[in-house]
Symmetry: C2
Subunit: 430 residues, 2 copies
């Protein structure tokens, strides 16, 4: 953990180092991934059989159940949930659905002053693929957050692929798939799953958009196949920026910081406060909580390597500019008037306002999506939404009179651009 003071001489330099710190691995997997994609494209299901055995020790056989998890199995997993968990998942799903329904875009259709009809129609993609990792990050909440926007968008066919290492399945994920109405669940993982979704195989029909978290191979496969299909954002390690004054219980803020740190050793938690003594109190509270939690190994590594505490003179005057430089995935503002600070922040994935809004509420049950831009990408990208599963078709309609008014200008421009057939297509109609 590093403690910085905004008044220290070399603060600008130290802060710049934090902003530019790349926590993402440069693992060079591009060549491996290219070979895997090629193999799946050429050999289809046979490639999946080979690769699943090699990487997941899972045998894809003539028995369809080795390939696919049926809807009945997902329903059974849902039925077996203990009531508390079932209620929590259902409530989360309902709230996520309600929030995302409000994202559905409006079509446009109007006539302008020249009687030109203009507009745009939105429609859902036909099929979406959702990657669910097999290991530590196989979270049912993540399935809800990725699947529900697709369903709200109106996707016809929602396909999950997930590795089942040594045949092992995650019942919580299957239960979540049941809740979301996932149409197909395939027991395939890694770059080969992304290739199968993009190009299709004998058994797996291709999709149009692929979303969901994954390891470096999965991320690289999505990047290489971007353009063949649509993909969600390139994702990196999670991060939180907490802006808090000394009126907060240090234990609360310590828990907020560690809730990001426990995700991954490369996660980052940053506190900005305006009180030196409070900073120390939070640091102490972090140490106390660290000793208590089962995820202490990961959380301590993250906190010690990437944790930062910054003391500034004034939260309102100083924090927003620092927040914009960081463009963090999560920004929590724990003050009496969080709105005043929020109004000055331009770049953030999601903002959590007030003392009673811990970020974890947004991970599970608040409603907005928890798939958010990381690694300063909030400068130019947004959290997952129904728009990631939709596309827009613009349209234009002119009558003879409107063409008479607009046509000559189009002819002029086509001619200066050296495109005579463009010009002709207008001129013949004038």
């Amino acid at each position: 953990m590093r403690r910085l003071n905004a008044n220290s001489e070399d603060f600008a330099k130290q802060f710049a180092r934090i902003v530019n710190d790349r926590r993402e691995s440069d693992e060079n997997v591009a060549t491996d991934v290219r070979a895997i994609i090629q193999q799946v494209r050429q050999k289809g299901d046979d490639a999946l059989v080979d690769l699943s055995m090699r990487y997941d020790k899972h045998a894809l056989t003539a028995d369809l159940s080795s390939w696919r998890i049926g809807k009945d199995q997902c329903r059974a997993a849902f039925d077996m949930l203990i009531p508390d968990v079932r209620q929590a998942l259902v409530m989360a799903a309902e709230r996520i659905r309600a929030y995302h329904e409000g994202q559905l875009p409006q079509d446009r259709d109007y006539r302008d002053e020249k009687n030109v009809r203009l507009g745009a129609r939105w429609s859902a993609v036909e099929a979406a693929g959702l990657y669910v990792p097999g290991g530590r990050a196989a979270y049912p909440s993540s399935l809800l957050m990725n699947a529900i926007p697709a369903k709200v968008a109106g996707v016809d066919r929602l396909v999950v692929t997930t590795p089942t290492p040594r045949g092992q399945m995650n019942d919580l994920v299957l239960a979540a798939a049941h809740i979301c109405g996932v149409d197909e669940v395939w027991r395939v993982g890694g770059a080969q799953a992304i290739a199968a979704l993009a190009y299709g195989t004998q058994r797996i029909q291709p999709v149009d958009v692929i979303v969901g978290p994954g390891n470096a191979w999965v991320a690289e496969a999505k990047r290489q196949l971007y353009g063949v299909v649509g993909i969600d954002m390139v994702a990196g390690p999670s991060e939180i920026l907490v802006i808090a004054d000394e009126e907060n219980d240090p234990d609360w803020i310590a828990a907020d910081l560690l809730s990001q740190a426990e995700h991954d050793p490369s996660s980052q938690s940053i506190l900005i406060t305006d009180d030196e003594g409070y900073a120390a109190a939070v640091e102490d509270a972090v140490d106390v909580l660290l000793a208590q939690i089962d995820t202490k190994g990961v959380a301590r590594q993250s906190w010690e390597t990437h944790g930062v505490v910054i003391v500034v003179d004034s939260l309102l005057d100083d924090a927003p500019a620092l927040a914009d430089r960081l463009a963090a995935e999560h920004v929590q503002i724990a003050t009496d008037d969080p709105e005043a600070i929020f109004d000055c922040i331009r770049h953030a994935g999601s903002v959590f306002l007030g003392r009673h809004t811990p970020e974890a509420i947004g991970d599970y049950v608040a409603g907005p999506n928890h798939v958010l831009p990381t690694g300063r990408r909030a400068r130019f990208s947004s959290g997952l939404s129904v728009l990631d599963f939709m596309k827009r078709t613009s349209f234009i309609s002119l009558d003879e009179k409107a063409l008479g008014e607009l046509g000559p200008a189009a002819v002029t421009l086509a001619e200066i651009e050296g495109l005579p057939a463009h010009a002709a297509s207008v001129k013949v109609r004038l």
Copy 2:
């Protein structure tokens, strides 16, 4: 040109071949581009000096005017336009601006039934870069279509980079830059320009989003830097699908088909009609027009290699399904009731309705963007819009009571996911 009849035995097979025809080059430039990006990252402006000399024979010297084209120069180019051209460009810009202003998204801010405050705020990216090619495709209309959405979005800084081979500039492009209020114009091209925009150099400040057409090197650089910055879609050769009955003058439809064909030898023009005799008449009209236009070399190559004429029984019953398979960039519906067909089409970049709406009107003056998804990408992506220059920040605010209602479910889910600090951050507040 291939003529297909929907009633022929092997139509399905032949049509599938057209759908799967990849007209995009597989030029393997990835390694070159990786080296160029590395060079610009390490050496900054010095790399630009070397690469501009090597590829563009343009000397970037101590004289700033060798690097940058000033606003005064853009204004001068505008002032020198002949009146017809000036009026056409200004009219196009105004109509494009008006259409894109209607795309500005609405913020959300509401309280749900549990008194949880939820919402989302949209904001523009700070800086956008726009690549303008130097050669055949340096179109002023393209500058308008890329720059105006950025300005409407509210981008603070709009930067154009364009190669000036042997020092040569394109005055029409400069005039268009003046009309759009472009903030900076840099005389740098190729993959090195994209790298400079993404990472910045001593002279060029980095941007957040890069858009605009380019050759294979430019496209590959954008793909490799996707994630460091936002980019617009991966673009391929242009295409048009014209759905027309025999009531259209064959000369009109021939001009429409050739208006795509003249863009590039890899462009594709497809006609679907319901009359065998009319198909032949259009083919004859294409041959006549081909003999007349200056772009005949390119247009003939495109038409002969990629042109397709499909005769179906019924436009209304048969054309929409074929159109969806093709998911074409441009779809023109030249019938008396184009709406009936449009209502059945789901995948298209932009649709041109009626006999008096040639696609070229959309290229220049209608208002909607002419940067559209190609190569079947209309299945999952949309034309350029103000949203490409904006991002959304979601927000959540709970009071003590709301946390009391939502908190326990979040704790339950955090615990089953094995994330104790997530659970703690809620529990300490309950």
